[in-house]
Symmetry: C2
Subunit: 334 residues, 2 copies
């Protein structure tokens, strides 16, 4: 039997914890034969949920944690003080090499802080990016960075481009992924100071398939697989995607049900928009740490948790962290 990929799952994080998290763990461990799950959180609650299912008991283990970090808590303080929280205890499993990856639907801020301070960065990685997959007309694209570093330097963006490309190639399975930097035009002289400084550095990278600038209008069409930008811009892209889809769908649904007096239209739309959901690829990875840290949506249900488990297995089996170390050390030799 191959070595198991060990995943520390924060059973108490998110709106639907622990029920949906536990359900996702059971589904994930069944789907991924090479996975082993630590369910970290309040033992009695987790036990009660687990009792609803049959599952390979040798591959799920409960780790008791009395405390829970809430969404509204100041992240730095929460991570520092709540040593007995499900999140901190799960992150400690990764730090101590007892687990390869961490998944949580809890506070984004706490995951960011905890990932960086407890799990720690791969040597040479300047700033680990939060890198969600966003849906496009041609499949998912990775957005690096979308949440971690709002005032970025050119050298950060170059590393994000490399890490994003490795992720898309080896976890998502896109051969030779197209890397582009978000810009206000496609001409090489366009951009703000950060983009103007980063562009030639990306162009000089021999280990990525840099295709130049991408305007935001071409992102939904799938014109690049790896979208590079600072986290302020990335956050705007991610959130506008969400908000605009919601408003448009609401508008269309309202119009259709009103006019046709039927739900057929709404059902068709729901079906056609299914491809615009990227949760089938799991959660947003925080890349560049000594272990994979995955943040799912706060309202994640069992499917997203199950998919995040598959994501962690693919990441570990793809030796992504070793590939990142290699890419970063090559950089230092250049």
């Amino acid at each position: 039997m191959a070595e198991l990929v060990k995943i520390a799952l924060d059973a108490m994080g998110g709106d639907n914890a622990p029920a949906e998290i536990v359900k996702g763990a059971v589904e994930g461990v069944k789907k991924e034969q090479e996975s082993f799950i630590y369910l970290v959180g309040r033992e009695q609650q987790i036990k009660a949920e687990l009792a609803k299912y049959t599952y390979p008991e040798d591959r799920i283990k409960i780790v008791d944690a009395a405390d829970v970090i809430q969404t509204g808590e100041p992240p730095v303080m929460a991570i520092r003080r709540k040593k007995d929280s499900s999140m901190v205890k799960a992150l400690m499993l990764v730090k101590n090499k007892e687990a390869d990856a961490f998944i949580s639907a809890g506070s984004s801020g706490a995951i960011l802080v905890g990932g960086q301070t407890i799990v720690g960065r791969i040597k040479g990685v300047e700033r680990p990016p939060m890198a969600p997959l966003i849906p496009t007309a041609k499949g998912p694209a990775i957005l690096v960075d979308s949440g971690a570093n709002v005032d970025a330097r050119a050298s950060f963006l170059v590393q994000w481009a490399k890490m994003g490309a490795l992720y898309m190639e080896h976890v998502v399975g896109i051969k030779n992924p197209r890397v582009a930097i978000v810009n206000v035009g496609v001409e090489e002289e366009k951009g703000n100071n950060l983009v103007k400084e980063t562009y030639p550095l990306l162009k000089a990278c021999s280990d990525i398939n840099f295709i130049g600038s991408i305007e935001a209008r071409d992102i939904p069409n799938g014109d690049a697989d790896v979208i590079v930008c600072d986290a302020f811009v990335g956050n705007v892209i991610l959130k506008l995607y969400e908000g605009l889809a919601k408003t448009l769908i609401g508008k269309i649904k309202g119009s259709l049900t009103k006019s046709l007096q039927t739900k057929i239209g709404a059902l068709l739309i729901k079906k056609s928009l299914k491809g615009l959901d990227a949760t089938e690829y799991g959660g947003a990875p925080l890349i560049g740490l000594n272990g994979l840290v995955v943040k799912t949506h706060g309202n994640a249900k069992h499917k997203e948790i199950r998919n995040a488990i598959s994501q962690c297995v693919a990441y570990k089996k793809g030796d992504i962290n070793e590939k990142i170390m290699q890419a970063i050390s090559n950089e230092n030799f250049e």
Copy 2:
């Protein structure tokens, strides 16, 4: 009879020039009884188009210009060298106080450069913003800046907030418009350096209704009327709006016509999405110059030109430039 609002219209700019531009001028001059239009461009071509219509001949005058600035031309060079182009000649009419406003569907870069170098800034205005209206679920919102200043300073953003609020109140007719700064969260400590620096300055402005930060996800829902951000972020918002709407609509239309084998669905959608078009408010104003400069879409048709003419009349009749001067000089006294 009230004093006429004189508008210099670049008859040769854009994909549909001069036919649609001239048609728009005829419609505009009929609709706006207080408007006077200079149609600037190749006289013979304009005359041939005008001959198709009846219109108040005392309120349309052709100004001959032999040359045309093309979209691909480097803007600074084009404005400097093509003295006999329709765009430069039309801008000169504003500079020389023969016209109050300028409209063009031509090169955005040339309009930006020409507006600033030929028409010139209102005294005290640091950087005039390009300020398009974007559609939201609750009506249009103004996006300042979306194209002119990619590396902005806090003091620019404060002026944009004031100018955007004046525009929304007196041209679009929104009482006490809600001003918000684009941010990665709504908590006051969030943001990149620019936002952190700008936020307290906006909060201290007594002459605007500052409601704090807005996340990009809440823009389409219409949670603010004046959206303040640097032009890099503004461009991303504007372009992503465009791209995402296009992709979503394409996806839904494809699914509907395929499934229902009918065009009813597509027609309904088209109708329901009509409210998501902001061209009924004219083009994007470049605010803060000694005269209004309006950039319409490159593919603008007669309706957008007609609406831009109404926009120029409302701007002039609302004494917006006088109000801006007042707001800026108050700032200097503070």
